[in-house]
Amino acid sequence: MIIVLAYCAVLLSLASGFVALLMNQRSILLKFSRSWFKKYPPGDAQYARLINSNLKERRFSHLLRLAVFALLGLSGLFAILAGISVLISKEIITDQIGLGLPWLSWHVRFDSLSGFFFLIVGIAVGAVGFYGPGYVHAYAEKQHPFAALGLFTGLFVSGMLLVLLADDAFFFMIAWELMSVASYFLVAFQHENPANRRAAFLYLLMAEVGALAIILSFGVLASFTDGFTFDALREAKLSTTWASIAFALALLGFGMKAGIVPVHVWLPEAHPVAPSHISALMSGVMLKIALYGLIRFCFDLLAEVLWQWGVVLLIAGTVSALGGILYALMQTNLKRLLAYSSVENIGIIFMVMGLTMIFMANGQPQLAALGFLAALLHAFNHALFKNLLFLGAGIIQHQTHELNIDMMGGLIKRMPQTSMLFLIGCMSISGLPLFNGFVSEWLSFQTALQVDVLDNGVLRSLIPVAAAALALTAALASACFVKVFGMMFLGRSRSRNSDKAHEVKDKGMLAGPGLLAGLCFLFGIFPGVIISLINDVAAQLLGQALPNDSALGWLWLAPVSAEHASYSPPLVLIGALIAVGISVWYLQRNPATVMRRAEPWDCGFGGLTPRMQYNCNAFSMPIRRIFAKVWIIDEQIDKDMQGAMNQNTAAIRYQLQVQDHSWPRLYQPIEHGVNKLAKLVGRIQTGNIRVYLGYSFVTLIIMLWVIS
């Protein structure tokens, strides 16, 4: 029964893709309906007229868009239902589909872990279902055909769902490739711009290199057992070395998709150029699918984890978290910034996964379950608020035609609802109490603080340092999102586009993010709901769950013991309401003190202009100066001097370029190497037919010699 729900989700997303193809087939449909009505004249003439009028050009495309996204939304709903029901029933459902290789039909397995990620995908896709019709309306049909967008969106979503269902390496890779390739076409959707094509190519390249690494890692496992089903792979008995090699390959492959520093470079390129609801899905969900792959590989397929892998994950995660947020702080393109922030959040998740592995390998399964809980909760939360922020960015782009934060300002008055939703997203991602981001951060800290159960001195001193980095990351994230919200929504508008912007009219475009914002708040106040679900995942996968996660009652969060640490968001909320209520009541009772509006302080010179406000680069300048080594900074100030002895500055130009270290340090050497190699290989290609004949001859001789 439950598996049928999951299949329905996959089929509905596929259906949404194929329905989108009808966009260009209006004439055929028209012909078909005419012949249909001729053959079977309907009893009700009005009915036929209704169908015919719906096939009129504009109405047709509108209805079709609605239908496509409704199917997608339904697929999300089914995914949520499937996920929740498998989590509640705690069953492991296996099945086989008669597709695929003749000797290896597709194996399907739907367990708690898949169910949990189904839930994540479902919520995100559901929100996109609301949001999509209004958003894609703006694309000109000729240049950006909806059929392509709809088709690849459907394929992309079904690919992600299939990855979660896969129970053999072959099926897994097919689903994985479906997901990667479909999303490549989505990134390349606005292909008229060469930069977009380049970004899409980079994405495809890295996705394929990553896929290669994943195949190899499966291959390592498969060579120690027979068969490609995950059941067979689980039986593989690997030596420590081979297990480590498999782990390294898997980390590279899944890490490339997840966006771990230094293989994160495709994220900030691909996310800004894809349509916003796609970048929301890519950033909010696809990265989580990569996380799922890693968890499945390390905790399920590999027989046991080593603490050294945990250390590797911890370090990679820490570097990604810090690097991601520092790079995010320097961005002025909103979606690029959000992409870097995804790197940060994935870094935090990996860090906590690392802790989980370390605890697991050191015989502390209960603490491992705590870390696992924190990591998955953060993955869930990140899916919520990052989706919310990307969809919000889409609304902003839709209304202002800008993505440059420095060109916005004052939108809080012109777009009150969007700004409220975006504010909730910013507060959640900054990890402020009462919102969901804080809960997972709190759990991560609690995990890291359990370090004194370990015996190993290196770990005991390494983990606190990682915790320190986590604290720094959280604080910088808060600074980053103050910058984002402050520059975009507050102050005075910095460009004409943002001055003329107004609230989005399409209610669905607000409903999608609104749903996510509501969930962000809800799970910030009642995290217990989702935590108990994840606890079941931990119980099934790690064989150990947190025993007393509700020792104090369902309002409380006490992961280790009530004595040790506890947090009760509902009580905190009540306290906050009381405090705000009292202060507002006390201060507003005096009618003489009604607010008055006046000009702001301008030092007595008058004439404040929007250009005098702080902008992005000004805001992040102290941080840029403090952490100067982290970026490659190219700062240029050109002054036009005039007057006697060139003393007066007539005009001043300021240019700033901040670049990622990974390009010149890692990728360019690789590129040079590949080019050099190609030239070397090119040397044997002389273009002379006689030489080629010679090659064939020598090859033949060698072959004959080998055979004989």
Binding site: V482, G486, G491, H564, S568, V572, P600
Partner: protein, 314 residues
């Protein structure tokens, strides 16, 4: 009963914060050979401000007007977590020390947004600097606090303080590091010399003041009160974590009275120390603050490491 004590304690916190500010000012004035204002001057200022009509910048949005309430409430909530005169509070259980740091972040988030809301250079300058300094200070503070929480193996402040109390007088190297780290952070976070100067009105050197430049009337009163509360809160944290003796462990009238006296005495001494250091030190350049806070961070990490290497039971 427990909840009643918690509420009373939080009210005491809010009520006494201006007095502490007045006392620091008094000490500073005497040290600098000036005539001191009355100890109760901060109260008068607050009352005066609440009765004045607030003037708000034209382009300010709703966020600007609600920010003071949020800032104040978040700070009061943070204060409600910290044991002032008695341990074993129910509020300490409902929110631990990480939540307290979260409340500070909450208040700062809105204050910085309010600074950006009016669209002047001062507001932006203040917000930018505040966020920079706090993003360095917050991890340093967490490190110092983690040293404590690992020693007591809890993040619940009440339990942690009782643990230190029950351990008796033990000299822990980790605590010495953590104490210094916390003092440095406290000075930075509450905007005192040498990081920021609460008395300055020179635009280019302001941090906290630049952010709240546009506030007036009851809004300003709330923000001022919140920053006095924050100052007291850090004082109480330092006093009660590292020198918890005297704090009430039972809820008898006698114990509570002693607890009140004890915290009075501890804060009096701390305030004098702060006044002396503010008199002796000069404000430093903005771009030396990171070295100062980096030092705090380092102390915090050293504290944690020395706990793990030297003191942990294994």
């Amino acid at each position: 009963m427990n909840w009643l004590i918690a509420v009373i304690q939080t009210s005491l916190f809010a009520a006494l914060a201006p007095l502490l500010a007045g006392w620091i000012k008094w000490c500073k004035c005497r040290l600098q050979n000036r005539k001191a204002p009355s100890l109760f001057q901060p109260y008068r200022d607050l009352i005066k401000l609440t009765n004045k009509q607030p003037v708000v910048a034209e382009q300010a949005s709703w966020l600007f007007t609600i920010a003071p309430y949020i800032v104040f409430s978040a700070t009061v909530l943070a204060a409600s977590i910290v044991p002032l005169i008695a341990v074993d509070l129910p509020t300490s259980a409902s929110a631990d020390v990480i939540v307290m740091v979260g409340f500070f972040a909450f208040a700062r988030f809105f204050l910085a947004l309010a600074g950006l809301d009016i669209g002047t250079a001062f507001g932006g300058m203040g917000s930018s600097r505040e966020m920079t300094i706090s993003s360095l200070a917050e991890p340093a503070m967490l490190m110092a606090i983690f040293t404590l929480t690992m020693t007591a193996s809890t993040t619940n402040l009440s339990v942690a303080i009782s643990h230190v109390l029950n351990d008796g007088l033990v000299l822990r190297p980790s605590f010495v590091f953590a104490l210094f780290a916390l003092i440095i952070v406290a000075i930075a976070e509450t905007g005192r010399v040498p990081v920021d100067n609460p008395a300055t009105h020179l635009e280019l050197t302001m941090i906290h003041e630049a952010m709240i430049l546009e506030y007036s009337g009851r809004h300003l009163a709330l923000i001022e009160w919140a920053s006095q509360l924050k100052l007291m809160l850090y004082g109480v944290l330092i006093a009660n974590i590292f020198f918890p003796w005297g704090i009430a462990e039972t809820f008898s009238a006698k114990a509570l009275g002693y607890g009140l006296l004890a915290i009075f005495g501890k804060l009096t001494v701390l305030a004098i120390l702060l006044a002396v250091s503010e008199t002796l030190l000069a404000k430093m350049r903005l771009f030396r603050v990171q070295e100062y806070l980096g030092f705090a961070y380092l102390l915090g990490v050293l504290g944690l490491l020395s706990y793990i290497i030297l003191e942990a039971s294994r």
